[in-house]
């Protein structure tokens, strides 16, 4: 097991570097920070100087090497756009996204698992049928479409049909209402609801389906029939065996799934103006702000790689049948 872990961790680093290099090259091929930053009324000499100041006249590999060495020394560089250090805004974005991601994850895991369990225990009941229908519907809905629909629903739709002068839930202001000053937990939570829902709509469906199938597999297994015959209570069958067995693949899946959630953040944060990592990326991408983008890429790729690693390890650890060493 130890060798397995060491080997996988050892392989994760080259993947991280190769992944960031691929994106680095693609970025250079399609954008140009000099043209993004400077309007036409600038002398040619100024453009050339600007390019030199930013080190953009150096060979591509050298530029990447400079970035990489600085990055691993903890020096994240200075944004082309703001001339300010990259790390503080990146940290804020990271924290915001982690909060949203964690909030959404808590929601979709709890709801998904609960729905899955009930559906499995009461297979083919009205609840199971409704949950199945809804989860398939959730899976079929483009998330951006869902997000926009919710805005209209809590906005004009709610005001018109419920004779209210304020929307049901706030959808502007990012993480707080415009007039909130300082930390306000209630306001912060309210601003998480719609983005978290948008982020969760597909995930709840996936988790409940996974859970339901996982539990049914155990509940209908032969050895369970034997167990029941021996007089083990149904409650014990459900919680001690089926629930636990179903959680194993789910844990693995939740780790692999982090990539999909990261992608969902880009769309969700764009719709709600939530200042997280996705929002940060699109901003920096438009400005071709390489120093802001590169550490972002490293962090996101590192997250995905780490969670994939975790998935592999948890799979190996949780499922005794495929112990590796």
């Amino acid at each position: 097991m130890f060798r397995f872990i060491v080997r996988r961790v050892f392989w994760a680093l080259p993947v991280l570097i190769a992944g960031s290099f691929v994106l680095f090259v693609a970025l250079h091929l399609t954008t140009d920070p000099v043209k993004a930053a400077i309007h036409h009324n600038v002398s040619t000499e100024a453009l050339i100087k600007f390019k030199h100041d930013l080190g953009l006249d150096k060979p591509l590999l050298e530029q990447y090497w400079v970035f990489l060495t600085h990055f691993f020394r903890g020096d994240f560089g200075t944004s082309y756009t703001s001339q300010a250090p990259v790390w503080p805004p990146l940290r804020t974005a990271l924290v915001n996204s982690l909060v949203l991601g964690a909030f959404a994850a808590l929601f979709y895991i709890v709801v998904g698992v609960a729905v899955g369990v009930i559906s499995a225990v009461k297979q083919y009941s009205w609840f199971d049928n409704a949950a199945t229908g809804l989860s398939f519907f959730g899976l079929a809905m483009p998330p951006f479409f869902f997000g926009l629909v919710t805005i209209v629903l809590v906005g004009t739709f709610y005001e018109t049909h419920f004779h209210s002068s304020t929307p049901l839930l706030p959808f502007i202001g990012g993480i707080y209402s415009p007039t909130t000053t300082g930390f306000n937990l209630v306001d912060r939570m309210k601003h998480l609801i719609l983005p978290a829902l948008t982020l969760s709509v597909q995930e709840v469906a996936v988790y409940s389906r996974y859970m339901r199938t996982g539990m049914l597999e155990t509940l209908n297994a032969d050895y369970m029939r034997t167990a029941r015959a021996k007089g083990i209570s149904e409650r014990r069958v459900i919680w001690h065996h089926a629930f636990r067995n179903a959680l194993i693949p789910l844990a693995t899946f939740s780790a692999i799934d982090i990539g999909a959630v990261a992608g969902g953040l880009i769309i969700t944060e764009q719709i709600f103006g939530y200042p997280g990592m996705g929002f940060y990326f699109l901003d920096a991408f438009h400005n071709a702000d390489y120093p802001s983008l590169l550490p972002w890429m490293m962090i996101v790729i590192a997250f995905v790689v780490a969670f994939n690693l975790l998935a592999d390890l948890s799979y190996a650890w949780l499922d005794p049948r495929i112990r590796v060493d």
Partner: protein
């Protein structure tokens, strides 16, 4: 914006410096706003309102790249920072409250020519920085000049690099010496986007005055009607500056908060539900039908100083390098129908633009006649195509030497207005034998790579007109990207005509403004005869307000390049 629509904004950012208004010509009047003790004791500012911003800058430094967004100008500098000259509601340069009078040749403010050209500013002795109450002095002017020149990533050194020195005979007088006659002096530390900074609050280390790392998310001083309380990626809070020396401009509202509303759906919902009191959106078929006037909502339209034109790439090897083809195409393209079908639905008063690179609203450079006779004319198309050596093939498409003429039309994906233009024009032009193919890419790729790289045949995009009519940087032969300028030249359409080059040079050096206007009109005719582009229309502006939430003169600056929010101090909360 709505993320996909960001292109339009980018354009204004990439296109030309946002410096607009009327050149000095004849504005010898003293500003009516510059009085100090106007006796009005304003009521205490009260209440709090929220406005929406279609774009939100990442940072707010007014000197460096942060300022490369119109919305930054509209959100911060115009409210917080003082400036020398400013633009009034009719886009004339006038004295700001910081000046005792507007410099003119008559009052001795503007003197000399060539290397003796100077502009003398007399600062208002009442002008004080908030919150510390120290006077705004000529030392701040000198500091700011250096900051524009020496800040890393300075957005624009244009004009500032024309200054040879600034004399400060006393704290209230700044004499600016230019290297040569500089017609656009009002835009230096004033006009549109120019500001004055407080030297004492900006600790600069080293020999250069580099303020690039300062003022990223805060400005610790104010010389305007508002002070900046906070700025972050999700909101900006401005508070009334009760100690502002111009008592006529003390705000009536205590706190104004701007929030980003980048998705059209969200923007429309936010104002319809009263979460924001005003928005200043780019009009389009998406928002205009949803923002019709109601009991509580009122939308007003104006004209900006931006114009949209169809540009033809004349780079050698590209089809439009052939002037005959440009002529034929210009007579095949129905500009009026395009306006009727694509623009009128959201801008009913739109009028055809007939100047190559100037608009009627800015200065007297545009007579609006040079391109007026470019109307559909089948006979002219036929003769010009024959002159260019094209014949129609079996499919009815123009071809030369057995090769079908294919024209690549580039736009930024997601810009619906331009996509609608393509949807309409391509089939119409196909009927006349022009095979046009859609060749769009993302705004970033289009404006950062393909436009500068000359990798397109034609494209519709927005340019911004400057008060100074010089177009040397975008239309002169010397600015065609090449080894001489290390590929960084700005003439993206490779236009080249020695006669136009000569006239541009003459006009740039012309001191007499009416002679200069004649030369520009002459240049416009040459550009039209060369079929440099197909000018379309001046771009509209739009303001939607909740009449139940705010009042006051919200529409006064509807035609200003500095946005309706310019005179926010006069707005009231209901």
């Amino acid at each position: 914006m709505k993320f996909r629509r960001s292109g339009l904004v980018r354009i204004s950012a990439v296109a030309v410096a946002l410096a607009i208004g009327l050149a000095a010509c004849g504005s010898s009047s003293k500003s009516s706003n510059s009085g100090s003790g106007s006796g009005n004791t304003a009521a205490e500012p009260t209440g709090s309102v929220v406005f929406g911003a279609e774009q939100f800058p990442d940072c707010i430094n007014p000197i460096n790249q942060c300022a490369n967004s119109s919305w930054l100008q509209w959100l911060v500098p115009i409210h917080v920072l003082p400036r020398l000259a400013e633009l009034d509601a009719k886009n004339n340069f006038v004295a700001s409250p910081l000046l005792k009078e507007y410099p003119t040749p008559d009052n001795g403010g503007v003197k000399g020519s060539g290397s003796t050209f100077t502009v003398t500013y007399h600062l208002n002795p009442d002008a004080k920085w908030s919150p510390d109450g120290t006077p705004i002095t000529s030392a701040d002017v000198v500091f700011t000049w250096h900051a524009y020149l020496e800040t890393t990533g300075s957005l624009s050194t244009t004009g500032y690099d024309q200054i040879s020195s600034i004399d400060t005979p006393d704290a209230q007088t700044a004499v600016v010496h230019f290297k040569e006659t500089y017609n656009d002096w009002p835009d230096v530390m004033g006009g549109f986007s120019g500001v004055i900074l407080e030297k004492a609050k900006l600790p600069v280390t080293g020999t250069k005055i580099d303020v690039g790392k300062l003022m990223t998310t805060s400005i610790p001083f104010s010389g305007g009607p508002w002070t900046l309380t906070s700025f972050s990626k999700d909101k900006e809070v401005l508070t009334a500056n009760a100690s502002y020396w111009d008592k006529t401009r003390i705000p009536k509202i205590k706190t104004v908060t701007f929030v980003p509303l980048t998705e059209t759906t969200k923007e429309v919902q936010a104002i319809k539900t009263g979460q924001v009191s005003a928005i200043y959106p780019q009009p389009s078929t998406d928002n205009v039908p949803q923002l019709v006037d109601s009991a509580t909502l009122k939308s007003t339209f104006g004209v900006t100083t931006q114009y949209e034109a169809l540009w033809l790439n004349q780079k050698p090897g590209k089809p439009f390098a052939d002037k005959n083809l440009r002529e034929a195409f210009s007579y095949a393209f129905d500009r009026q129908q395009l306006l009727n079908d694509v623009i009128k639905p959201f801008d009913p008063t739109v009028e055809q633009l007939n100047c190559a690179v100037w608009v009627p609203g800015v200065g007297k450079w545009c007579e609006n006649t040079a391109f007026a006779n470019l109307k559909p004319d089948a006979a002219k198309v036929a003769s010009a195509m024959a002159a260019a050596g094209y014949t129609k093939d079996s499919k009815g498409l123009w071809a030369k030497g057995g090769t079908e003429l294919t024209i690549h039309w580039m736009e930024n994906t997601g810009n619906k207005r331009r996509e609608n233009m393509q949807a309409e024009e391509i089939p119409l032009l196909a009927k006349q034998g022009f095979k046009i193919v859609v060749d769009n890419s993302s705004a970033d790729t289009m404006f950062q790579k393909r436009l500068p790289g000359g990798d397109f045949d034609m494209a519709v995009y927005i340019q911004v007109t400057s008060p100074d009519p010089s177009v040397t940087s975008i239309l002169s032969t010397g600015q065609i990207p090449g080894p001489a300028n290390k590929g960084q030249g700005q003439n993206d359409t490779w236009y080249s005509d020695p006669a136009a080059d000569a006239l541009m040079k003459t006009a740039d050096a012309e001191l007499d403004q009416s002679k200069r206007a004649d030369e520009v009109h002459q240049l416009d005719k040459i550009l039209a005869a060369d079929y440099v582009n197909l000018p379309l229309y001046a771009f509209p502006s739009m303001l939607s307000v909740r009449t139940d939430l705010i009042g006051g003169p919200t529409n006064d600056f509807i035609n200003s390049p500095e946005s309706n929010f310019w005179n926010m101090w006069a707005w009231t909360k209901k």
